[in-house]
Amino acid sequence: MQPQPLITVSNLTMAYGSFILQRDLNFTIRQGDIFIIMGDSGCGKSTLLRHMIGLKEPAAGSIHFHDTNFWNASEGQRNQIMRQCGILYQSSALFSSMTLAENVALPLRQNSDLAPNEIAELVSLKLRLVGLAGFDQFYPSEISGGMKKRAALARAIALDPEILFFDEPSAGLDPISASLLDNLILELRDSLNATIIIVTHELASIFAIGNNSIFLDSDSRTMIASGPPQTLLQTTKIHKVKQFLTRGGTLQNPFPISQKPDKETPSHE
């Protein structure tokens, strides 16, 4: 039996003023998916993410979380949905005037009635989970880029979210840090039972952790393929998708899956 649909995007059109960035996007993200949004540079991947996390209103179409239409919902309902979401921004977006502990504590303080000592314990736990034990009192400027990403991840999982959004998580990371982050994402999916949505064009990550995906095209300004990345690689007839997944044709089967995704979704093109 297929897992429940968690996010349903229907006929979504994204635009900046009169400039249409993407139109007619239709896809479903199911519980437990590691869903990859990929596409060439400038196609609107990050903008799609901003639509899904309530930062930009669609020009047309809808985004449903379970049965709630996000952009038609009341502010209270929207806040409730957003409380179920954790977001890791491309630039980490840690507050530079706060220590890592304060950064992680902020969503806990805002969205819960926990006592300060309970918050402190949770913060310490979250930092330990991402491998940053002992860095509580460091400021973002005092740690490396990879550590910032992990600290931001600790903040994103502060409220044990049901859905985690990642905007280019491995951008600017060395291959070792990037693969550690991939493993961490898999661990979080399994341990928190979270659904994960990742905007990326890092092929290694796409094949290592993604179990479903969509491909946005900047020329036709719509999605031109969807399905599990590994299946797309083997079966796609679309030149651009093939080129993308084989790094311009230079890699034939670049990243054989070492860890098979436990959920397969049928592909469609």
Partner: protein, 386 residues
């Protein structure tokens, strides 16, 4: 037939590039020799083109005597290639060094698709006026909606729902108050001195030197104290607010706040605005006192007025009402400075240059608003006889 073209002005031996144009029937062979690098002297395509015969079927190259080449050499080859395409002539690249051949292929490969770039045209006068007007109306709209957002935020604060960090508020209190004292002090003393000097020259003509105390006292308390402090704070603190919030915008920190369910206006604008609202009247009061002190220095040094005389004259001239006017203005100015800084910071785009623009714009907006509101208040107080 072979014609040689070499530049007339030779800079140094070894740094000249020459070209021989040899035509055999309708075939053309170009013999390159010497140095074809940036910095050396060689002919341009326009100079050698007249040497070409009327009809050419093919152009070939001989580079046996070519000593050195770089991108500069490719430029002339590109010109020749364009000429060949235009005149339906075959260009035979075999005689060129292999590196040059590869670079030529690379540079002539057309991109898969023309990059999208909006057409740029110089707008007409009326279009410019229209655009500026629309922009101004939009800007006013944003100003009003931000005023609304700030008001709602204060309502939330008073109902205990707004959330910001106390540590942030204390930090901004210090930044807007004690940290600004040295520069405010310096400027205020100097403004007091300037006012006194200007007045002294005129008042001496009438033998009314003692009224220097009235001039400086009223000038500082009603106008200059608050205004100078506000202008300093616009440059110092307003710009800093805009840059801080702008950087947070670039760094996606404001997005992060929003998605955490925290209102960025509550969290970021309230502590800044409140801090400046509290500190601005105090700074203005300090500026008033130091300005009066500066005036006394000039009175004592140039007009032989004693401290007691100056003090008594000031006390008689400046009543509490005048201080009240100055302090009221200071509160308004403080609001305008913090408001402009925060508004421009929150409106900031997502690039480094946008942060610079936001900071500049914050200062300009604040100074314009300060001067305009001061003019309005001065007229109003005059009508109301305050």
């Amino acid at each position: 037939m072979q014609e040689t073209y070499s530049p007339k002005n030779t800079v140094a031996p070894g740094s000249i590039g020459t070209i021989d144009v040899e035509s055999i029937g309708t075939d053309l062979c170009l013999h390159f020799s010497g140095s074809w690098v940036i910095g050396s002297t060689f002919p341009s395509f326009l100079e050698i083109q007249p040497l070409f015969p009327g009809t050419i079927k093919s152009i070939s190259f001989d580079t046996t005597n070519l000593l050195a080449w770089d991108s500069r050499f490719l430029i002339i080859l590109n010109d020749i290639s364009e000429y060949a395409v235009k005149n339906d002539t075959t260009m035979i690249a075999e005689g060129l060094p292999s590196g040059v051949q590869r670079l030529l292929v690379l540079s002539s490969a057309s991109p898969e698709k023309a990059p999208f770039k909006p057409e740029e045209k110089i707008p007409s006068f009326f279009e410019t006026v229209g655009n500026k007007t629309t922009h101004l109306i939009e800007d006013c709209g944003e100003l009003l909606s931000f005023t609304g957002a700030v008001s709602l935020s204060y309502l939330r604060l008073f109902s205990g729902k707004a959330q910001f960090l106390t540590s942030d508020f204390l930090y901004f209190l210090e930044e807007c108050g004690p940290s600004a004292l040295p520069i405010v002090s310096l400027i205020s003393v100097l403004v007091g001195i300037i006012l006194a000097f200007v007045g002294a020259v005129q008042l001496q003509l009438f033998g009314a030197e003692i009224y220097i105390a009235n001039l400086v006292g009223l000038g500082m308390t009603r106008e200059m104290g608050a205004m100078m402090a506000a202008i300093i704070m616009a440059g110092r603190t307003g710009a800093a607010f805009a840059a801080q919030l702008g950087t947070m915008q670039v760094n996606e920190e404001i997005d992060a706040l929003q998605t955490m369910g925290i209102d960025p206006v509550d969290f970021l604008v309230l502590p800044r605005l409140s801090a400046l609202l509290i500190m601005m009247p105090l700074l203005a009061l300090w500026a008033d006192l130091l300005g009066i002190g500066g005036g006394f220095l000039i009175a004592a040094l140039t007009l032989d007025i004693s401290m007691v005389e100056y003090y008594n004259q000031t006390i008689n001239a400046v009543v509490l009402r005048h201080f009240g006017v100055g302090l009221f203005k200071a509160i308004i100015f403080g609001y305008l400075v913090a408001f402009s800084g925060c508004l421009r910071g929150m409106q900031c785009g997502r690039s480094a240059s946008a942060v610079g623009t936001a900071a500049t714009s914050a200062v300009v907006t604040a100074i314009v608003l300060i001067v305009v509101s001061d003019a309005v208040m001065t007229v109003l107080f005059n009508i109301l006889k305050i």
